[in-house]
C-alpha cells in the first residue's frame, strides 16, 4: 500500500539565482556549493584604489601572470563551502581527539625508544612553524586571488594549516608533559639548527613572492609535495620499528589532509594549465624551480632521520611530484 501525502503544491517561479542559472545554462536547481561560490566576488566599479598599494584595484586580475577567460572554470572537486568544510574537519578532528585520548590513557608514548622520541622532537615539532608559514602563504594567496572559487580554497587551507600547527604543538605537549619545553626547543631548532635553515629560508622567500599563483604552486604543490610524503609516510615508516605507533596514529589527520589537498590543487593546476600554453609554461617554470628548492631544503632533515636511505627517498618524492604535475599538464 503506498502512502500519498497531499501537500500544498506551489510552483516556484524560478529555481535559482540568475547568475547561477546563466552558468548552469538553464534555470534549474543548483547545489549549495554553486550558489555559495559563483560570482560572489565584485569585478567592476570599485570606488577607490587601495591606499596601501594604489597601483592595483581591490580585486585585480593583473596580480598574477596567469590568465583565465573565466575564473570559475575551476571548481573545488570536494564541493566545500563553509558548512560542509567545518563538518568535514570536525569529523577528522574527532578521530584525532580519540587518538590523543587513547594515547594518553594508555601511556603509549612510553613505547617509543628514547632515540626515536628525540628524533620526533627534532623533525616533527619544528614543523609547526612550517605549518604556520603555510598558513601565511595560503592566507596571502587567498587574499590576492581572483574569483571566489580560488580564494575560497586558499582560505580554507590557511585555517587547516593553523589546525595542523596546533595538532603538532599538542604532540609536543604530549611528549613534554605539558611543560612546553619541547616547543621552546623546537622554536630554537627552527631558528638556529643547521638542518632547518634551508627550509626556513625557503619559506621566508616564499612570503615575499609577488605572484599569488606562484606562491600557491610553491607552497602547496612543491613544498607540501615533499613534506607530506616525507614526514607522514617515510618518517612514519621509519618509526614503526622504534615504538612509534603513537605517532602513526596522530599522523592520520595530516595523512588524510594531504590527500584532500591534492584533490583541489591538482584540479586547479589542470584547469589552469589546460587554458593556455602560456599558463602551462608559467606553472611549469614555477613548479620546476620550487620543487628543486624544496627537495634541496628538506634533504638535510631527511638524512638526519633516515640516514643512508634519505637521498633515494628524496628522488622518489621528486619523481612523484613530477608525475603528478604531468597529469595536470605541467612539465617539471
Amino acid at each position: 500500500m503506498s502512502l500519498e501525502i497531499k501537500t500544498n503544491v506551489i510552483q516556484p517561479r524560478r529555481q535559482t539565482y540568475a547568475h547561477i542559472a546563466k552558468r548552469l545554462g538553464a534555470d534549474k536547481p543548483a547545489t549549495r556549493y554553486q550558489e555559495g561560490t559563483w560570482d560572489l566576488q565584485p569585478t567592476v566599479n570599485f570606488h577607490y584604489r587601495p591606499t596601501w598599494n594604489p597601483e592595483r584595484e581591490i580585486y585585480d586580475e593583473s596580480l598574477t601572470v596567469i590568465k583565465m577567460e573565466d575564473w570559475y572554470s575551476f571548481n573545488d572537486p570536494r564541493q566545500l563551502y563553509y558548512g560542509t568544510y567545518t563538518m568535514a574537519r570536525h569529523k577528522m578532528m574527532e578521530a584525532e581527539e580519540s587518538h590523543f585520548k587513547f594515547i594518553e590513557k594508555s601511556n603509549m608514548t612510553a613505547l617509543m625508544t628514547p632515540e626515536w622520541q628525540q628524533k620526533v622532537r627534532e623533525f616533527l615539532l619544528p614543523l609547526r612553524h612550517y605549518e604556520w608559514g603555510a598558513n601565511m602563504n595560503n592566507c596571502d594567496f587567498s587574499d590576492k586571488a581572483y574569483g571566489t572559487a580560488i580564494s575560497q580554497v586558499g582560505l580554507l587551507a590557511a585555517m587547516d594549516r593553523l589546525g595542523m600547527a596546533q595538532i603538532i604543538s599538542r604532540v609536543g605537549l604530549l611528549l613534554d608533559d605539558s611543560s612546553g619545553t619541547s616547543l621552546d626547543q623546537a622554536k630554537t631548532d627552527w631558528m638556529e639548527a643547521d638542518i632547518w635553515q634551508g627550509v626556513r629560508k625557503m619559506i621566508e622567500d616564499s612570503f615575499v613572492l609577488d605572484d599569488w599563483f606562484e606562491q600557491c604552486v610553491a607552497q602547496n604543490l612543491c613544498m607540501d609535495g615533499v613534506v607530506f610524503p616525507l614526514f607522514y609516510q617515510y618518517f612514519d615508516e621509519a618509526g614503526a620499528s622504534q615504538g612509534g605507533a603513537a605517532m602513526s596514529m596522530l599522523n592520520e589527520f595530516m595523512q588524510d589532509w594531504g590527500k584532500d589537498e591534492r584533490r583541489w590543487l591538482d584540479q586547479l593546476l589542470k584547469v589552469t594549465a589546460a587554458e593556455s600554453a602560456e599558463n602551462a609554461a608559467h606553472l611549469s617554470g614555477w613548479a620546476a624551480d620550487w620543487t628543486d628548492r624544496a627537495v634541496e631544503a628538506f634533504t638535510p632533515i631527511a638524512r638526519h632521520v633516515l640516514g643512508d636511505g634519505a637521498d633515494e627517498v628524496m628522488q622518489s618524492i621528486r619523481a612523484d611530484i613530477t608525475n603528478r604535475a604531468q597529469k595536470s599538464g605541467i612539465e617539471i
Binding site: I10, N53, M93, M136, L162
Partner: protein, 505 residues
C-alpha cells in the same frame, strides 16, 4: 575537545603555546618586506606581545562548535523550504526587507571575508592575525548561509535574483558598496577600526537586531535562524573590535588622535548606511518591532554611552556628530522612505504608503516630528495613488560624494531645508550631505574624488544607455516585477492567490 584532560595548563597558557608561539621574526627576508603594509598609517606598535587574545578558540574547538551550528542551521533551512515556510510571513511586503538585505548587506559579508583575509596576513602580530583569519572565515559563513537561506525566497519573490550584479551597479547599493570599499582600501589598522570596532561593535546591533527581530515578528523563520546563528559569531567579532581599539590606544599615546579621527569617520559613514535600516524598520515591516528612534536609544545612546565612558580613560571621546545622529533618528527613516517611494521605478524592491494603523503607529512613535512633517506628505501621496496618479520621480537625484546617498537629509534644526555642504579640490566643486561627510572628504579628498557615483555614471553613458529603461536593464532589473509600487505587483498578486488557496484547502 577536552580541555580538562590535564589541568596543568590554563586556557590562556595553552592557547599561547598553540598559537602565539608559532610566529617568528624572519631573518632571511626583512620583516618590513614580509609585512609591507602595517607601518604607513602612523600607528605605532611597540610590542605586539601586548595583544590580548579576546577569545581563545583553537581550530579543533572552532570546527566543533561551528559545525554544530551549521548542522542546526541547515536543518532549519531545509525544513523551511520543504514546508513552504515563505507562506508563514505576515505579508509579502515583508520580503522587501529581505531584498534590501540580500542585495545590500550580504555582499558586504563577502567583502568582509576578503578584507579580514587581507589583514589576517598583513598584521605583523600573530595574535591579531589569527583573530582576523577566524573572522574572515566566519564572514564567508555569513554570506553563504544568507545566500542559502534566501535561496528559497528567490524562488517565489522578485528582486532577489541578481544580488552580486546589482550590488556592483544599482544606484542605492553604491551606498553600502562604497562604505566597504572605503574600509578595504584603507590600511590594516583603519580597516579593523572601521569594521571590527565601529561596525561590529558600536553599530552592529543597529543592523542585526532590527533585521532579525523584524524577521521574528513577521514569521520569517529562515532569517531568524541564520540571524541568531550568525550572532554567536558576532560576539567574537565584537570582542576583537574592542580589543583592537584598546591595543592601539595602550601602545602609544600618539595613536590616540589617529584612532579618534577614524572613530569619528566610521561612526558617521556607518550611521549613513544605517539610514537604510531605519527605513526598513519603520516602513517595511508589516509587524513592527520598535521604531528606529527606539533602537537608536537602546543600542547607541545607552550601550554606546557605557562603552565611551570606558574608553574615556584613554583620552577618547564619543564620536563627533553623535548628537546630530541622535537628532536625525527622529527624521531619517521618513526622509529615506520618501526618497525610495519617489524612485521606486529604479529600485529592485517595492514601496508603498503605509496603512492607516501603520501611520498611527508612526505618529505615536515620533510624536514630535511625524505628524508635523511627514504624515501629510504620505497622505497626499496616498490620495494621488488612489486617483490613478501614483507618483514616480523621473529625474535623477544628486548624490553625496562620500556616503553616496541622495541629498535627502535635512538640517536637523530645520527639517524644511536640505543639508548641503561643498568643498573645492583641484578646481572642481564636490558636494556632501552633512558636516560629517564633508569632514571625511576634506581630510582625504584625493580618495573620495575617485568615487564611482551611480548618477554621474548614468549621465556619462556608462550604465547601459541614454534612457532609464536601458539603465534598468543594465541593472538586470526585471521591469514591472522587481520595481514599482507594491500594490499590483506580481509579488502581491501571488501572495493574495496563495492566501486564498490556503483558505480553500
Amino acid at each position: 575537545m577536552a580541555l580538562k584532560r590535564k589541568k596543568k595548563l590554563g586556557i590562556k597558557q595553552r592557547y599561547s603555546m598553540l598559537t602565539r608561539g608559532l610566529d617568528w621574526e624572519t631573518t632571511y627576508q626583512p620583516m618590513d618586506k614580509v609585512f609591507p603594509y602595517d607601518n604607513y598609517e602612523g600607528i605605532i606598535i611597540h610590542d605586539w606581545d601586548g595583544w590580548q587574545d579576546p577569545f581563545r578558540l583553537t581550530m579543533d574547538a572552532y570546527w566543533k562548535f561551528q559545525s554544530e551550528k551549521e548542522k542546526k542551521l541547515y536543518a532549519v533551512i531545509d525544513s523551511f523550504a520543504q514546508n513552504n515556510g515563505h507562506l508563514g510571513i505576515t505579508d509579502a511586503r515583508y520580503v522587501n526587507a529581505i531584498k534590501l538585505f540580500l542585495t545590500g548587506v550580504s555582499p558586504l559579508e563577502y567583502q568582509a571575508a576578503r578584507g579580514f583575509t587581507h589583514v589576517g596576513r598583513q598584521f605583523r602580530g600573530v595574535g591579531p592575525r589569527v583573530a582576523c583569519q577566524m573572522q574572515a572565515i566566519d564572514e564567508l559563513r555569513h554570506v553563504q548561509t544568507q545566500i542559502h537561506s534566501m535561496s528559497h525566497y528567490n524562488k517565489y519573490f522578485d528582486g532577489l535574483h541578481s544580488s552580486p550584479h546589482m550590488h556592483d551597479r544599482v544606484w542605492y547599493l553604491s551606498v553600502p558598496k562604497s562604505f566597504f570599499d572605503d574600509a578595504r582600501t584603507a590600511g590594516p589598522f583603519e580597516f579593523v577600526t572601521s569594521i571590527s570596532f565601529a561596525f561590529e561593535y558600536v553599530l552592529t546591533n543597529l543592523l542585526f537586531v532590527p533585521f532579525m527581530s523584524g524577521a521574528a515578528f513577521n514569521g520569517d523563520m529562515a532569517t531568524v535562524t541564520f540571524g541568531f546563528s550568525a550572532q554567536s559569531d558576532e560576539a567574537r567579532h565584537m570582542t576583537l573590535g574592542l580589543e583592537v581599539i584598546k591595543f592601539m590606544l595602550e601602545q602609544d599615546e600618539r595613536n590616540i588622535p589617529i584612532v579618534q579621527r577614524w572613530m569619528d569617520k566610521w561612526f558617521w559613514r556607518g550611521n549613513r548606511v544605517l539610514a537604510l535600516v531605519g527605513m526598513m524598520m519603520d516602513y517595511m515591516l508589516p509587524k513592527r518591532v520598535m521604531s528606529w528612534r527606539e533602537a537608536w536609544d537602546i543600542y547607541f545612546t545607552e550601550a554606546g554611552g557605557a562603552l565611551f565612558q570606558d574608553l574615556a580613560r584613554y583620552g577618547i571621546r564619543p564620536p563627533k556628530y553623535a548628537d546630530i545622529a541622535t537628532k536625525e533618528a527622529e527624521h531619517i527613516s521618513h526622509q529615506t522612505w520618501h526618497t525610495f517611494y519617489n524612485y521606486s521605478k529604479a529600485a529592485a524592491f517595492h514601496t508603498w504608503v503605509p496603512e492607516k494603523e501603520e501611520l498611527d503607529w508612526l505618529s505615536e512613535k515620533y510624536p514630535d516630528t511625524f505628524d508635523k512633517y511627514y504624515r501629510p506628505r504620505l497622505e497626499y501621496l496616498d490620495k494621488e495613488e488612489k486617483a490613478g496618479r501614483r507618483f514616480y520621480n523621473d529625474t535623477l537625484p544628486m548624490l553625496c560624494q562620500v556616503c553616496q546617498i541622495p541629498m535627502l537629509f535635512t538640517e536637523m534644526d530645520d527639517p524644511t531645508t536640505i543639508s548641503f555642504r561643498s568643498s573645492d579640490y583641484n578646481g572642481d566643486t564636490y558636494h556632501t550631505c552633512s558636516d560629517g561627510c564633508k569632514d571625511i572628504f576634506d581630510f582625504e579628498p584625493a580618495k573620495y574624488v575617485q568615487s564611482w557615483l551611480p548618477v554621474h555614471q548614468i549621465y556619462q553613458g556608462n550604465c547601459g544607455g541614454a534612457g532609464i529603461e536601458d539603465v534598468l536593464k543594465w541593472y538586470n532589473l526585471n521591469l514591472g516585477a522587481d520595481n514599482l509600487e507594491y500594490k499590483g505587483s506580481p509579488d502581491q498578486k501571488l501572495w493574495d492567490e496563495w492566501q486564498a488557496h490556503r483558505k480553500k484547502a
